[in-house]
């Protein structure tokens, strides 16, 4: 499944090594019984905490597809997976390797937005379908969208819009924002401000903090936010920065009598490591995996727990749904021809653990949603409570606005 191609013996001298790389790898003639190769690229060493649940998710999907007899009348789905080291230029090289040497029919994966964009551009150039699994940037389906690229997860815009709906109901008028200092943080804050101001012209934004990703100076940042005396805070930090922010914020009373609205914080990837120190009462987007009891989710969860002996995380669902979508698209296209697969993916309907989703023909964005609720601590563990499923389809701009943004 995780087939790796051994090209050369270690320690070979430079030229010898180069020539070895040059040796063409075994060809994959396209016989009917040949497996369908999908190239998968993600930041396995850069962000293992997020990408390993994701990998398990797609492994489960692929196993299910193959156990059910494969695709196109018996062809197995075979994934060639590679690390991108978290760097776009490495990802492009790996994509080329997958295309040239492994003869993959599709590409999938990526976590970081810039890596996703680089692979999307590569896919368009090489006319290869690409299902971007995790990158959140709006650009990948809008301003830098292309015919061959599809994205599964709800984008920054969608997630911000889901939270704005809740934020607008709050009495809070004075808002402060804290977000990592890069495109994801910037656009999350920008959309949040714009959408909230549209719904609530009476709010004002009184402070903003832009810590460098991974280097949040928690004390000074918390203090600076508190000094602005906001009624509520919009948080976009995540991971280690979030944990630091929460600890320092609790210690300095930042969250006392203030509502915090926070992007992604309800996902197990972020909530679990905080254990009993998970924030109380934050309004978040996330994935309350232990509580969702729709039939499709229960089936997924049971299969996942049985296979990996641990509960799924957000990434698991993304990995699973990405490869289920690929399988569905190939089946719908009736072939692995790139153009046909792209056409099949446009407007593809499928059932995901979160319920039915559609890859919109308009902008190739999937309508997969997220769960919006409040955080609380139960049995020494952060969980979501009072949540609801926010269907992605309801949190997208008008078709006309989207068409304007897309270059085609």
């Amino acid at each position: 499944m995780n087939r790796r191609h051994f090209l050369l013996a270690p320690g070979a001298a430079a030229l010898a090594a180069a020539l070895c790389v040059a040796a063409p790898s075994a060809s994959h003639a396209q016989a009917e019984s040949q497996p369908i190769h999908v190239g998968e690229i993600n930041s396995y060493t850069g962000l293992p905490a997020f990408t390993i649940p994701y990998r398990q998710g797609w492994q489960l999907a692929v196993e299910e597809v193959n156990a059910a007899g494969g695709l196109l009348g018996g062809r197995k789905l075979e994934v060639v997976s590679r690390d991108d080291a978290g760097k776009p230029d490495d990802a492009v090289r790996v994509a080329q390797e997958l295309l040239s040497n492994e003869k993959v029919e599709l590409l999938a994966g990526t976590y970081f937005s810039h890596v996703g964009l680089a692979v999307a551009d590569f896919a368009a150039r090489n006319k290869l379908p690409f299902v971007a699994a995790e990158p959140l940037t709006d650009a990948i389906t809008w301003t830098k969208g292309n015919r061959y690229t599809f994205r599964l997860r709800p984008s920054t815009y969608m997630q911000a819009a889901m939270l704005v709906e809740e934020a607008a109901k709050l009495p809070a008028k004075r808002w402060a924002t804290v977000a990592p200092n890069y495109e994801y943080g910037q656009s999350a804050v920008q959309w949040f401000r714009q959408l909230l101001s549209e719904k609530r012209p009476d709010v004002e934004f009184v402070a903003e903090q832009w810590p460098a990703q991974g280097k949040l100076e928690a004390g000074p940042t918390v203090q600076a936010l508190a000094a602005a005396k906001p009624d509520a805070i919009f948080n976009v930090t995540f991971g280690a920065d979030l944990a630091k922010f929460v600890r320092e914020g609790e210690g300095r009373g930042l969250f006392r009598n203030r509502t915090v609205v926070s992007l992604l914080t309800g996902e197990p990837e972020y909530l679990d490591p905080m254990k009993d120190e998970a924030p109380e009462g934050w309004i978040v987007t996330g994935y309350p995996q232990e509580q969702i009891d729709t039939p499709e989710h229960k089936a997924f969860r049971e299969a996942y727990v049985k296979r990996f002996n641990e509960p799924p995380r957000q990434g698991s669902v993304v990995g699973y749904a990405t490869f289920k979508a690929i399988a569905a698209a190939v089946e719908k296209a009736g072939s692995t021809d790139a153009e046909k697969v792209v056409d099949a993916l446009s407007g593809l309907d499928l059932s995901s653990p979160f319920g039915p989703i559609t890859f919109r023909a308009l902008d190739h964005q999937a309508t997969m949603g997220a769960y919006v609720g409040k955080t609380t601590v139960k049995n020494g563990q952060g969980v979501m409570t009072g949540w609801r499923y926010a269907d992605g389809a309801d949190y997208l701009p008008s078709d006309e606005a989207v068409r304007k943004m897309r270059p085609e």
Partner: protein
């Protein structure tokens, strides 16, 4: 008012951690002159060990502080082990070789930590008895941070006592000022170095373990701290503990108050500060000229222009490389294209390091400027590729000319850190200027036109352009330009007294190296189809440095061999295993121990020995 006081205290708490880590670094550097990249890894290891021990014993104050101390000592022992097992074998190598060795340690430790503690962030217990906060003028302030604030001066005081009131400390100070004198005093330098590595690493480990109650321990802690620790060391003045203390305080305050004025300045603040300090003060705040190390690269044996059969090796290699597309597939060609480009990048850096004795930590800036120069022309002016490729070395050269003017006025690690500061400034501007550079989402669609779009065509184009540039660099090394550069490195005193303007020559070399790197960057942009700020980030500078050192700095073929070896190794390891950093790190360590003069240096020695016998 109370707000500013609390903000000030927050800055002090930041400063305390910074000081603990950088004091260790400055002590190690002062005595051993080793640029210890692994220092950040020791910090991370301290945090992980601290987490494990605090989870076990941390229920009581005694248990907690015992756990912190134990973690610190354990990390110290590991540092001593690194000295005995690795660095000690390299004291006779060119000084920079030890830097390469510590980089290998960084890679190994990243994967080791991931293997032992798993990939998830670990949020540890809080310090018992110090969970709450106290009100300072009605503003709550965490108790634990108050303890940290006190710990900084306490450690400074203890170190002062150690260095001024004990025999060992006196010897270390003597060795800091004059290594030869120390050995003349009958001190065994090896034992002294082991002790110093122990102390320095233990301080890093202490800094790490103390973070357990403040933040989630994670696998990115090493890189996050090590660059900043170097900044503190250099701003304070190398080898100066008080300097490190003052610099930590200033940087802590700068971060506390800087974000109030410019919330978006977080990416570049410390580097801006360092650049300003170094431009004004050549040896940092409290450093003295005599403590500054000599230029890092010691003069090697004379360059030997290949004679006889060997003269045809480059031409033969070029012919062979040009023939590769006849047998190779697309992927092999793009990997080889990258190797050729990186060889040019490494060779351009080698011009500075190998010939000029100028170790740059920021060479990626010019690679990136070249890539962006090309990409911006394509994006904003729809320029054709030849024009964009011509602009790449030009923009990079201009950037190098501007930064170089400041940098060549400093030497040794001060020079290196100033190049890093400029690189980080360029990086952050590129990263944040969304309207012009596309910010961190980069610029897409920088593909070659149809005539060069084939993998073979682009490979040949790269081979021609980069090969030509490599040839020019090689000619320049043997031409008066390269001789003059080496003259300035060998003896600036003598060079100046025979009419050579050393600084101006270094400046021009910096620009030449920058534009060569820029050409490499331009070629890289079209090879990848997109450019991102990652191209000018620290890891690319470090990779280039590693390539040069792996090949060996004393030969002109070194960087080319190093680039090929490093890149092929990395791509192969990456496509085979998720533990590729471990593999790469282990290979680097083996290479360093087996070939202390670099691979090309080793081959040359074999060759020379063969001819002599």
């Amino acid at each position: 008012m109370s707000f500013y006081l609390v903000q000030f205290l927050s800055g002090l708490a930041t400063a305390a951690t910074l000081f603990l880590v950088s004091s260790g670094l400055t002590i190690v550097f002062g005595v051993t002159r080793i640029v210890n990249f692994a220092h950040g890894s020791f910090y991370m290891l301290g945090a992980y060990l601290g987490w494990t021990l605090v989870e076990r014993w941390g229920g009581t104050p005694l248990g907690f502080w015992g756990a912190v101390a134990a973690a610190s000592l354990a990390v110290g022992l590991l540092g001593a082990l690194m000295e005995v097992g690795l660095l000690r074998r390299l004291y006779r190598s060119p000084e920079l070789f030890q830097l390469l060795a510590t980089f290998g340690v960084v890679l190994v430790m990243q994967d080791a930590a991931s293997w032992i503690w798993g990939s998830e962030d670990l949020l540890g217990r809080r310090a018992p008895g110090l969970r709450g906060s106290v009100d300072i003028l009605d503003q709550p302030f965490p108790l634990y941070d108050l303890v940290l604030i006190g710990l900084g001066p306490l450690v400074l005081g203890l170190l002062w006592l150690l260095f001024n009131r004990t025999r060992w400390g006196t010897l270390v100070r003597a060795a800091t000022q004059d290594r030869d004198m120390a050995s003349a005093l009958g001190v065994d330098p090896a034992r002294l170095f082991t002790g110093v590595l122990f102390l320095g690493s233990a301080l890093a480990g202490l800094g790490g373990a103390l973070q357990v109650p403040r933040e989630a321990v994670n696998l990115h802690m090493d890189m996050a701290i090590v660059v900043e620790a170097f900044v503190v060391v250099v701003v304070g003045g190398m080898g100066s503990l008080t300097g490190a203390f003052v610099a930590s305080l200033l940087i802590g305050q700068l971060q506390a108050f800087g974000i109030l004025v410019f919330p978006q300045i977080t990416l570049v603040l410390v580097f801006l500060f360092m650049a300003v300090v170094l431009v004004i003060r050549p040896y940092g705040l409290l450093g003295r000229a005599e403590d500054a190390p000599p230029t890092a690269a010691s003069p090697g044996p004379p360059l030997i222009a290949a004679a006889g059969m060997a003269r045809w090796v480059p031409a033969l290699l070029l012919a062979l490389l040009a023939a590769v597309p006849l047998v190779a597939g697309d992927y092999a060609l793009i990997v080889l294209t990258e190797v050729v480009i990186l060889a040019l990048l490494a060779a351009s850096l080698h011009l500075l390091i190998g010939l000029g004795g100028l170790v740059s930590f920021g060479h990626a800036a010019y690679f990136g400027l070249g890539a962006y120069g090309a990409a911006l022309l394509v994006k904003h002016l729809a320029a054709p590729m030849p024009l964009a490729l011509a602009a790449a070395p030009l923009l990079a050269g201009l950037g190098a000319l501007a930064a170089g003017w400041f940098c060549v006025r400093r030497s040794g690690l001060y020079f290196a850190m100033l190049t890093l500061a400029f690189a980080q400034i360029v990086w952050s501007v590129t990263f944040q200027w969304y309207g012009f550079t596309g910010g961190d989402n980069g610029i897409l669609g920088v593909w070659p036109p149809d005539w060069a779009a084939g993998k073979a065509a682009y490979y040949w184009l790269t081979l021609a352009l980069a090969g030509g540039a490599l040839l020019l660099l090689r000619r320049a090394a043997f031409a008066p330009f390269g001789y003059t550069l080496r003259a300035g490195r060998d003896s600036a005193l003598r060079a100046e007294s025979v009419g050579i303007n050393v600084r101006r020559h270094q400046w021009l070399s910096f620009a030449l190296a920058g534009s060569a790197a820029g050409l490499a960057g331009g070629l890289y942009a079209f090879a990848k189809g997109s450019v991102f700020p990652t191209l000018m980030a620290v890891p690319v500078s470090v990779d280039a440095l590693v390539m040069v050192l792996m090949g060996g700095i004393q030969t002109l073929s070194g960087p080319v061999v190093g680039a090929a070896l490093f890149h092929l190794l990395e791509t192969e390891a990456m496509s085979r295993t998720d533990w590729w950093r471990l593999v790469l790190g282990a290979v680097i360590l083996v290479l360093v121990l087996a070939f202390p003069k670099g691979v090309a240096g080793f081959v040359r020695d074999l060759w020379t020995r063969g001819r002599e016998s």
